[in-house]
Amino acid sequence: MADRADLPTIEDETREYWAAATDGRLLIARCNDCERVHHYPRVICPYCWSEDVVAVEASGRATLYTYSTVYVNDLPPFKDRLPYTAAVVDLEEGPRLMTTIVGADPVQLRIGMPLRAEPLEIAEGVTAFVFSPA
């Protein structure tokens, strides 16, 4: 496990978000003062610096901002998964996420295409959201 480069270090500040992912719920952060949402979650709102930030569930609907199929990565476990498609996606609610695309041949991908979030268990008790064509 220790030499895996893909495992997040889950912290008390973010545990709620990772725990929800294991139930298939994609949470993003929302500021109760300025009402803007953000991701990744912070303890203050990055727009107005309010400390009144709560987690809310996102729809999982997104569009493809950009992507790249990775052919070279010598870090485990990625070196055994090549090639895979790295991507940055825009959630319907606004925040942008780093992720990977699954369930599609890279030649089918188009910037702007609709995507949906899929929970993927990457280790016992750890789930990350990847995306596939909607």
Partner: protein, 381 residues
């Protein structure tokens, strides 16, 4: 006090493949050569800037060099650090807090990889904000590739236009004996290479070399005693943006759009005044965006701008006259090498790759994946 500041000395260490060297050795070699080039001695140095070497930079480098600097900097913003520290050093000298500042860097990243002292892809960890990207394997090259794809989508930039940047760099490298790769390449050579991260094949990516560089900045009071013509710092700008690419609002615009504008404004110059440009080219796309962001062409027009040999020696805007990070030297952080080449051009010391009568140069360093930028405008009398 508000003194003018000049770069008085520049040097490279041994560069290319230097398997017997250590980073400290290359740092010291470059420093020694740069101080000699400035006609100064180690005792003249009262300020030191260095980063990326040691646990508490620049302390270890200062100790290795036998210095007890009274002004220090180690701003760790990646490859842009050296333009940013040159900006800080200029301010400190102008203010009178230092008279002679040494910036020095060295790395053995090529030999470290050959000796298997490191992996090719770096593991940045997974704490804090990194926990949100660790699961997805976004390599450094893929981050650039994703940004390039977005530019291609929005503006119709072609992979051939991006490849031309690599071809132009190699063209310029042919006249640089210190360049690692000097044999000409074609656009087809770039496109047919092994795919690293789509759409980037190998030659869209910078080389990996060993090497060090150093510069010496001095107050105007010292200039009459210098053996060589001074190269004046005319204006500087700096900026940091995102670290996570999810926090980058527009992948077609980088931090040079802010830092570069500041540098030109403070120098009272425009891109049209520039005779030679040394712009960080970790990837072909980095150079294209930096040209746009600095204002050499409009946003989105970088593709057509780089065509037709414009960036080559003899072209309308010679860029990376030493061959750049794509062909000449790239040991991890290229920022200081940009300043060395700019000074050599303005002094008229560049030999067969000299840009005739170069009077104004810009050095623009970009760190990380468009995370930071430092831009410095330089000129001679």
């Amino acid at each position: 006090m508000n003194r003018r500041v000049a770069i008085a000395g520049v040097a490279l260490s041994d560069v290319g493949s230097v398997p017997s060297a250590t980073p400290y050795g290359l740092i010291a070699q470059a420093a020694s050569r740069a101080v000699k080039d400035a006609g100064l001695t180690p005792r003249d140095i009262d300020g030191l800037g260095s980063t990326s070497t040691g646990t508490l930079p620049p302390i270890e480098v200062g100790e290795y060099l036998g210095l007890t600097p009274r002004w220090v900097d180690s701003t760790a913003v990646g490859g842009a650090a050296w333009e940013v520290m040159a900006a800080h050093a200029t301010d400190a000298i102008a203010r009178g807090h230092a008279d002679v500042v040494l910036l020095t860097y060295g790395s053995t990243s090529r030999s470290d990889l050959k000796k298997k002292l490191r992996t090719a892809n770096l593991n940045w960890g997974s704490r804090g904000p990194l926990q949100w990207e660790a699961p997805f394997g976004h390599t450094l090259i893929s981050k650039y590739a994703m940004a390039a794809r977005r530019h291609m989508h929005e503006y119709g930039t072609t992979i051939e236009q991006l490849a031309e940047i690599a071809v132009s760099a190699r063209y310029n490298a042919k006249d640089n004996p210190e360049a690692s790769y000097r044999d000409p390449i074609t656009i087809d050579d770039v496109l047919s290479g092994p795919m690293i991260a789509d759409p980037f094949t190998k030659l869209h990516c910078c080389i990996r070399s060993d090497g060090g560089a150093a510069i010496v900045l001095v107050a105007e009071d010292r200039v009459p005693d210098l053996p060589k013509k001074p190269v004046w710092v005319l204006g500087t700008g700096e900026c940091t943006m995102h670290m996570s690419t999810s926090q980058w609002p527009d992948m077609t615009t980088g931090p040079a759009a802010i830092a570069g504008r500041l540098a030109f404004e403070r120098a009272g110059l425009t891109p049209q005044d520039v005779d030679v440009a040394e712009l960080y080219d970790a990837f072909t796309y980095m150079l294209l965006v930096t040209l746009e962001d600095l204002g050499f062409c409009k946003k989105g027009e970088g593709g057509p701008f780089v065509e037709g040999g414009r960036l080559r020696l003899g072209g309308e805007l010679p860029v990376n006259t030493d061959g750049g990070g794509l062909s000449a030297v790239h040991p991890g952080q290229r920022g200081l090498f940009l300043l060395v080449e700019a000074v050599r051009q303005l002094r008229g010391e560049a030999g067969p790759r000299q840009v005739p009568d170069a009077r104004i140069a810009v050095a623009s360093g970009t760190g990380g994946w468009f995370c930071s930028n430092g831009t410095v405008l330089l000129g001679r009398d």
